[in-house]
Amino acid sequence: MELKMAVEKTHGDFNLQTDFTLTGEHIGIFGSSGSGKSTLVGLLAGLATPDRGEISLDGECLFSSSRHIDLPPQRRRIGIVFQQAFLFPHLSVEANLFYGYKRCDPKYRTIDPQALISVLRLEGLLKRGVNNLSGGEKQRVALGRAILSNPRLLLMDEPLSALDDTLKFQIVDYLRAASERFHIPYLFISHSLLEIRLMTERVLSVAQGRVVGLATPEELARQRMGHSQVGYINLLKVEPLRKLGGMTVYRWGTSELFVSGGDDRPDAMFELSSRDIILVKKHPEAVSARNLLKCTVVDTFPSGNKVGVELACGSETLIAEVVMQAADDLAIQAQTEIYAVVKASSFRRLG
């Protein structure tokens, strides 16, 4: 997918000016509320008209003020999944799902509806009305409906914001499964860096109607670590091994992690803030924290008035954060051997 967007749009006091080219399959647009993300979505989908400029997708011009081109939304083949599901309340789940499919030119119908219904686990819901579905079910139907319209690009405009944490990560799994199975490029728009990191490979940052950067989600997370209230969030994929007292022991790469509570569900993911990691130079004799991970410093990087420390823990990577004085005292530099101390209660399960 190649998207070029050089447009200007003024609405009241808000002015949006962009000039970027995006290539890739899973791209994020990140910014706080009011930064212009949703305006971008509207302009791209044809739901709003730029004051001037050009938009093209895979070489086809969707909008050009100089050439007087403005393709209507139904001819752009850009699907949207909104923050709320916005299912048609007078139609059944099945009729909602097939609304776009029926209107899609047969030559573009590459997605097998039954396969999609199966991936999204919607088989049991088809005959139901949409008003009694749960939030997660509604969002799965909305996703299926958008994908079945066989779009060449799917815009996901904060599709997880209205869901609670548990549902959010279930839907993330569905989103990823569907996009992998049906090879649909998407733009994932969110104000949550965590969601962006889970869903995208590259991310465009937007602030006050301007594009302020293009980076990988990982780079963005590191850049923002010093400004974030929660520091850098490490995402740890783990497998349960055994129960131990009130804890669960997980396999994380080549290491073992002790986590308060926990359960035996496979493919678990935990988040761990960089601020919950204590670095010690020598092996402590006795410590109450249950996780003592022997690591090697890979790199250090400045982050506001702190220092970010990239650690290699066996086959896995952790980012820790220390104040400058601590970095000096511990003489932290690349190749230094160090211990990361983490309390069992510092992990938060995702999903």
Partner: protein
């Protein structure tokens, strides 16, 4: 003893015929006008809004008189209908036009209330799913406006059944031709022996109104249950 004369039956039949015709003919225009006023931005919208709502505030006699002026032989529409061989003034068709003009703002208002409750994002969703403007109008806006359409139609039907002032000016009060229930009651009320006949027709008017409102209620409940 309350009883109905054969002219009264004619008045009842004509009232129902005029009210139903006015409502059915106004419905598509009312729907499109409501859509225009709800979803489309254009210049002169406020003026159009005032114009359509004018019958709500104007005395019906004024509306009737203006219709008479425009549909009469020397009016700006009269000669056109004449050339098409259509005679309107002092026929039941004039009564339909009078009822339609007077009831139109009620119809539009109710449909607009229904349309304004439709989330714009549903329309956006429809457009990005490949539906054009007309397709969206018929597959999303129309079904989601059905509560407003039912309410507006019932209101307009009830208003048309009671229409008097505009009708008497533009259609006259000719028994068996243009005399509707309200006009017949007006005639009876003016004659010394007409009291019981007037009362009988009042009773009929009440029964018809109750039937219309009950049908509206039942239909609305059914739609709500389906939602």
């Amino acid at each position: 003893m309350l009883s109905l004369a054969s002219a009264d039956y004619d008045a009842i039949r004509l009232s129902v015929k005029v009210a139903l015709t006015a409502t059915v003919l106004s419905l598509p225009f009312g729907f499109l006008f409501a859509y225009l006023m709800t979803f489309v931005r254009f210049r002169g919208k406020a003026f159009l809004e005032v114009l359509v709502n004018l019958p709500l505030t104007l005395p019906p006699v004024v509306i009737g008189y203006l219709l008479l002026l425009s549909l009469g032989k020397n009016g700006w529409l009269g000669p056109l209908f004449d050339r098409l061989g259509i005679q309107l003034i002092f026929t039941w068709k004039a009564a339909v036009i009078a009822s339609a003009v007077v009831g139109f703002p009620l119809l539009v208002r109710s449909i607009r209330i229904g349309m304004e409750s439709i989330d714009r994002q549903l329309i956006h969703a429809s457009r990005t799913l490949g539906a054009g403007g007309l397709d969206t109008l018929f597959t999303v806006v129309l079904p989601l406006s059905r509560h407003g359409i039912v309410a507006g139609s019932s209101l307009m039907l009830a208003r048309s059944l009671g229409e008097f002032g505009a009708t008497i000016i533009v259609a006259g009060n000719i028994p068996g031709v243009t005399q509707t229930i309200p006009l017949a009651i007006y005639d009876y009320a003016g004659s010394p022996q007409g009291e019981s006949a007037a009362l009988a027709l009042c009773l009929v008017a009440i029964v018809i109104s109750v039937v219309v409102l009950t049908c509206h209620e039942l239909l609305s409940r059914r739609l709500t249950r389906r939602d």
